[in-house]
Symmetry: C2
Subunit: 431 residues, 2 copies
């Protein structure tokens, strides 16, 4: 007897849109933590976010159909938090803490809708912007990135046959599992999935997360993706991001206020959160300047997430700073999450093992490593450096310097001013 | 909306037997060619076939449940040729020839049923025998082997989780595709699937055949599996096997008749078949003796299938023989099918390229190569050397010497007699 589900087959014949964003929880956990604080402290701030393609050789607008992109973004705007999701946010504990989200915040979330977007094609690229209240526009970052990355993957695979796709995924699975088996050799590893924004696709990220859960056991400590955390009973991982100091810096009226902005945002943060969430990003305007000017109470925080300097260099720099401030690094936590892969995870783990607590946020190279997997080869599945960054706050340009000059964003005159205030070096180097 | 095919799910809950043999065409093509001749010339001959496990360290009866084995063998006995299959056998052309199978043979096939079997457990092994008319028992060879091999695979995978199996097959697919990409570098390759008897499982063999079709194009010339040939519109590949000279040798009353038996069977063959089917197996009792005593007309046949000597050595031996008989090897065909894998296919291809036509029958290492694929490792999926051989004809013991002493089968006294008649060397060596 041949068994075909005729209803499904008939539905597939009339298939129109395969939505990429199907849940507002399909985002990074830090967005929800930041959102609660932004809504509480800065409900009037207007912030514009914009898409920045650092891989300028990839002409996105020639690869992805504009109508398809609009259809996906429009669909994302129809999605709301479901009752089940809000109940889970209210009832689950995060980072060991109950009732992380206040009832009035959850009530407000129930009506949340992604705000409007502006999309234009400019010279082979998409100019995609989200303007409006910060507490609305901030939520576009992750869905916008995952939509664009998945549409690009789909475009690259459009002409692949059934069999080619079978080999492609067989190889990608083998490749990831080989990485898992290598990582299993690190007994005290603490690793989490940070791959939502750069993922090949949602289903592939889900498979990767299941692979880590199966293969690493306790060493896999969770995922930044809130939906996957809920569905797989994993810990939701995340704290805060560069947009906080960037917006506060943009709002600063004087150089003095600008210099104080990165610390002010951390004062805001510690009034909202505690314990394992007390993790600071040191590199928005350069780690060197940040550490030099940091208040002493910051040395009592749980740790840092160096996000743009080479991990060993950045870690040594921070360990020295803790020692200078009289704190024992052995009780502190470093979270490495910038472009990590097995080699750099192994090297960093071995370098710092026993000297400091570590955890690794594994992103692009976890959820989007298809290099060498496509029969016949393709560059269409190579990961790209795509970000959504805050570009303006209350009409003033936002700037990021970073420890990596290639990651600097913002208006040239403003970048020059920030360099004057925070130092030229961009914070690189430990000296 | 969650879509579940409730009927299928409910059926699965009550799942009893997953039949391994679902069609009598799920066998090697040569069995049908031989069967037609056996029925025509030797309908009265009684032949007993028996299972021989050359991998004696694998205690099959400790691995495979006897009841499961009986259930599968019993199920195979319920299978009949379907009308569609018989119409295809009648209407398809094989080896370029129409009406390969005579109407009266096909009419007889319509009622064909696999005969009874005798199964006992002896010291951790199965003593499995098929006794009766040769034209019935011969058909058990392939289904018996594929049933046992697949039951063994299932036993090895019984405790693997859903995820482990996913990785296992992903790796096996990647591994096979890497082989396909290497073989693609051989422009004049002619390769066929000979992997039915040793396959990991039916579905896996089907995938492998589809992979070769997709990846090798014209270089993949077909499959020995008649069912897969029919379903995938591929050429059915095969000619004849050792059982023909073995039975005729067992029936020989004198040493003279014994010496003549291997050639007599080829005279039978050329009365039934022509062209590309005129392929001789030289090694049943040693290639050296076979070639030395061969009649001149055999040098006009299309070619040979050396099946137990190292391929390059065997090929050189046969090429020299053609030259001695004044035939041009460039127009001749050698079929290599003994334990081939990518390395030996490449080496043999490069060695003989331009000097003789070649084709490769790829068996165990095509359809059952799971080495290194199981997460955590297992030896349960390593291929084993399992054969079903004729052991008696009309009550007299059957013998095979082979070019490889490890492949000799039969009664010790008879082996000694055959060695006296055909030569001690077992035919190895070109001198």
């Amino acid at each position: 007897m041949t068994v075909t589900d005729i209803a499904t087959r008939t539905y597939n014949h009339n298939f129109r849109l395969d939505p990429i964003v199907r849940s507002l929880l399909d985002t990074d956990f830090y967005k929800l933590l930041m959102l609660q604080m932004i809504r509480h402290l800065y409900p009037q701030v207007q912030a514009t976010f914009g898409l920045i393609n650092r891989s300028t050789h990839i002409r996105l607008a020639d690869t992805i159909d504009e109508d398809e992109l609009r259809a996906q973004l429009d669909h994302a705007r129809t999605v709301r938090f479901t009752k089940k999701e809000l109940i889970w946010l209210a009832g689950n504990s995060f980072a060991g803490q109950e009732r992380m989200f206040a009832p009035d915040f959850l009530e407000w979330l129930a009506d949340f809708q992604l705000p409007e977007y502006e999309l234009r094609r400019v010279d082979g690229q998409f100019d995609l912007r989200f303007a409006g209240p910060w507490m609305m526009t901030t939520m576009w970052e992750i869905p916008a990135l995952s939509v664009i990355n998945e549409l690009r993957s789909r475009a690259a695979m459009r002409d692949m046959g059934r069999f080619t796709l079978d080999i492609l995924y067989a190889r990608a699975k083998s490749k990831l599992w080989d990485k898992v088996e290598r990582l299993r050799a690190l007994p005290d590893l603490a690793l989490s999935d940070f791959g939502t924004r750069r993922r090949h696709g949602f289903l592939w990220q889900r498979w990767c997360v299941e692979a880590l859960k199966e293969g690493l056991g306790d060493r896999f400590i969770g995922t930044s993706n809130v939906l996957l955390a809920m569905d797989s009973d994993l810990e939701a991982i995340g704290t805060n991001a560069h947009e906080l100091p960037m917006v506060l810096a943009a709002l600063a009226d004087t150089d003095e206020a600008l210099r104080a902005a990165p610390y002010r945002v951390l004062e805001d943060w510690r009034r909202h959160y505690a314990g394992n969430l007390l993790i600071a990003l040191p590199d928005a305007f350069g780690t060197k300047a940040f550490l030099a000017g940091a208040p002493d109470w910051l040395a009592d925080w749980t740790g840092f997430r160096p996000d743009s300097a080479p991990p060993i260099e950045a870690g040594e720099q921070i360990i020295r700073w803790w020692q200078q401030r009289g704190r024992d690094p052995q009780g502190k936590l470093l979270i490495f999450s910038d472009g990590m892969d097995v080699e750099s995870i192994e090297a960093t783990y071995r370098h710092f093992h026993g000297r400091v607590r570590m955890s690794f946020g594994w992103g692009t190279n976890l959820t989007n490593d298809f290099e060498g997997c496509a029969p016949g080869g393709t560059t269409g599945l190579d990961p790209m450096s795509l970000v959504v960054k805050v570009i303006e706050a209350n009409g003033r340009p936002a700037v990021k310097l970073s420890d990596n000059p290639a990651k600097a964003t913002g208006d040239a005159a403003e970048i020059a001013r920030y360099r004057r205030v925070f130092g030229q070096a961009g914070g690189r180097g430990a000296s």
